[in-house]
Symmetry: C2
Subunit: 190 residues, 2 copies
DNA sequence: CAGTTTTTGTCGTTTATACGACAGATAGTG
DNA sequence: CACTATCTGTCGTATAAACGACAAAAACTG
């Protein structure tokens, strides 16, 4: 597929930087992590950092897409029909990802949420759009609006569960599911 | 102490090469390991190998002194008196090192023995010379000869135990010890 | 608030590594 | 034995990484 030959030095150094960053993020607060901390942990020169990333936010973005979120993103994307099971599994994938990462990076997780939200919503919008377009006879515009609101609704549910709910994600989903399903079950136009 | 600043790239690349080599040596026979095998495992360019080592024998030498033999060599060196216990512990250190490494590198160990023998004898000669010179009133020449023969005798014993003995190293040593001790217990000259 | 220290980006120069190519040496094959 | 393929060691060139220095920004301190 996309087999561009990348200089092995770049692969190694990027990995050194990312690994060092992930180590730091598990103990320190994101805002207290300096570039020097990262490059020291990676045993590379500080100037080299800027050869790979513009700043630590850029690095965070790369670490999320290339490491921390790869599993949850591929789990979200692997469904091929929009139904009960798909919605439930997506909800479970996202909530599990969030609780796991927040446990792993107790001090830094808060700083990640905004970037994570953006990436997850992108993924959700993408999969919902595709599934609606493929499986239902809906005009493009309606399809888009449904996907947008499904995305925000299910993502909002994961946040609410995380912050306000005492019950299991499965139990929470039993309440949310009927509402979500009504959002895309449009009568077919003639 | 000897704190010369070494370019971190050199440290990292040397480690990559050595680690890859140690991985290979655990499964393959030394003579069947090519430079390409090593550099592929280390994810470095083949030409870079020659920047660090002249050939795979040079690499083997470095891996032995800097990794595989560091423990046994420091165990040998840490004694400060020539007596029963010292000789026994040295014998046990060496035999344990040999059996462990030979189990770890079943196919390659045979190719290592000559280099290992050289290094171990150097260490043994060094420690025996020092201990004899410090603790006994012996002329330098006698001291040297005693150290040489002690070295060969105890090293030969480890090889014999390894190849021909069914008993425990401790039991073997009970027989060898009295002979070894006679080798340096010279009457003091007046 | 002023004064100090730390951190951030950036730059120029030096060094290490990547890469492809090469001839000679070794090994494998019919 | 000849033939082919693989491996070795070396070279020149391009790129990445190291290093020290710098000014500006940010954070800290009294």
């Amino acid at each position: 597929m996309t087999e561009v030959k990348v200089d092995p030095r770049i692969i190694r150094t990027r990995k050194l930087i990312m690994d060092a960053f992930m180590q730091l993020v598990m103990k320190k607060e994101f805002k207290d992590i300096t570039i020097k901390d990262i490059t020291t942990g990676a045993t590379i020169n500080r100037a080299t950092f800027y050869y790979h990333f513009t700043d630590k936010y850029d690095l965070l973005d790369a670490v999320l897409t290339e490491n921390l979120m790869t599993n949850v993103l591929s789990e979200i994307m692997e469904h091929d029909e929009l139904n009960k099971e798909t919605l439930t599994q997506i909800f479970l994938s996202v909530t599990k990802f969030q609780t796991d990462l927040s446990n792993q990076c107790r001090r830094s997780f808060e700083a990640f949420t905004s970037t994570i939200e953006k990436k997850l919503k992108d993924a959700l919008l993408g999969i919902f759009s595709n599934l609606l377009r493929d499986s239902y006879e809906i005009e493009e515009e309606l399809c888009h609006i449904s996907a947008v609101m499904l995305t925000w609704a299910i993502y909002g549910a994961t946040i609410d569960w995380q912050q306000n709910s005492q019950q299991s994600p499965e139990a929470y989903m039993e309440l949310a599911l009927p509402i979500l399903m009504k959002m895309y079950d449009h009568p077919i136009h003639f």
